[in-house]
Amino acid sequence: MTESDNAPSFSDMPEGCVTDILSITSPRDACRAASISKSFHSAADSDAVWDRFLPLDYREVIARAVSPVVFESKKQLYHRLSESYIILDRGYLVSQTTW
């Protein structure tokens, strides 16, 4: 049990709490938080956080891509979609989302 007069320890906080907090900051703040320490790195890079930064319809968007959009993490998908164009609907539509 932590008390206010004992220094709080990051290791005492459930990772779910950390991800919930980081997911209501911003992608930039989450990236910065990842560089603070190993513990924050794990939470800040998690799919739970980056899923909240992706738009609600991202699955529908990437399903329409001419070339499959391959990603290993939600963070990677976020950067992929925000840094380059993807061609949708057999080439009739080009999308680059800026989030």
Partner: protein
């Protein structure tokens, strides 16, 4: 004269808190314990201190007692209460997160999460470097640096 049903909460320090049932069920954890018939004597909360439980009960009571209306005054009053509620030292905020997470009080948890998220957001490179330098106490540093920053800006 009407009597409202009360619930007894016994905490880590062995202290007993008697609260109206309508307030006690704000935490979903306690609501479920009552539904499961675990509240015949007192509900044990062995991982929460008196200081933190008092604050939690204060918040639940305020939100239960404030009329649930769209009235401007009522909303402003609650907002002001919440604003003052999270003006706590880092240790208290940290202990509150653990307690409120256990008790499962969504509104209060969201409030504390937002408070800490606001402290994390938009730090300058100098403030980030300060956090990295003392990353063994990373969580307290987030709060500490923000407090120092705000203090220096007289906010």
């Amino acid at each position: 004269m009407s009597f409202s049903k009360t619930i007894m909460l016994r905490n880590y320090d062995g202290e007993t808190f008697v609260v109206d049932e309508v307030v006690a069920v704000e935490p979903q954890t306690i609501e479920h314990m009552i539904e499961d018939g675990c509240a015949n004597t007192s509900i044990p909360l062995p991982n929460i201190t008196s200081k933190i439980l008092s604050k939690v009960i204060e918040h639940c009571k305020k939100h239960v007692e404030t009329p649930n209306s769209n009235e401007k005054d009522a909303k402003a009053d609650l907002k002001s209460f919440d604003f003052d509620f999270v003006k706590a030292d880092q240790g208290t905020l940290f202990d509150l997160i653990l307690a409120v997470n256990y008790l499962n009080i969504k509104g209060l948890l969201d409030l504390i999460y937002q408070t800490i998220a606001d402290m994390i957001k938009g730090k300058t490179p100098e403030e980030e470097e300060e956090m990295r330098r003392v990353n063994a106490w990373v969580f307290s540093c987030f709060v500490g640096v923000t407090c120092l920053y705000f203090k220096s800006k007289k906010i």
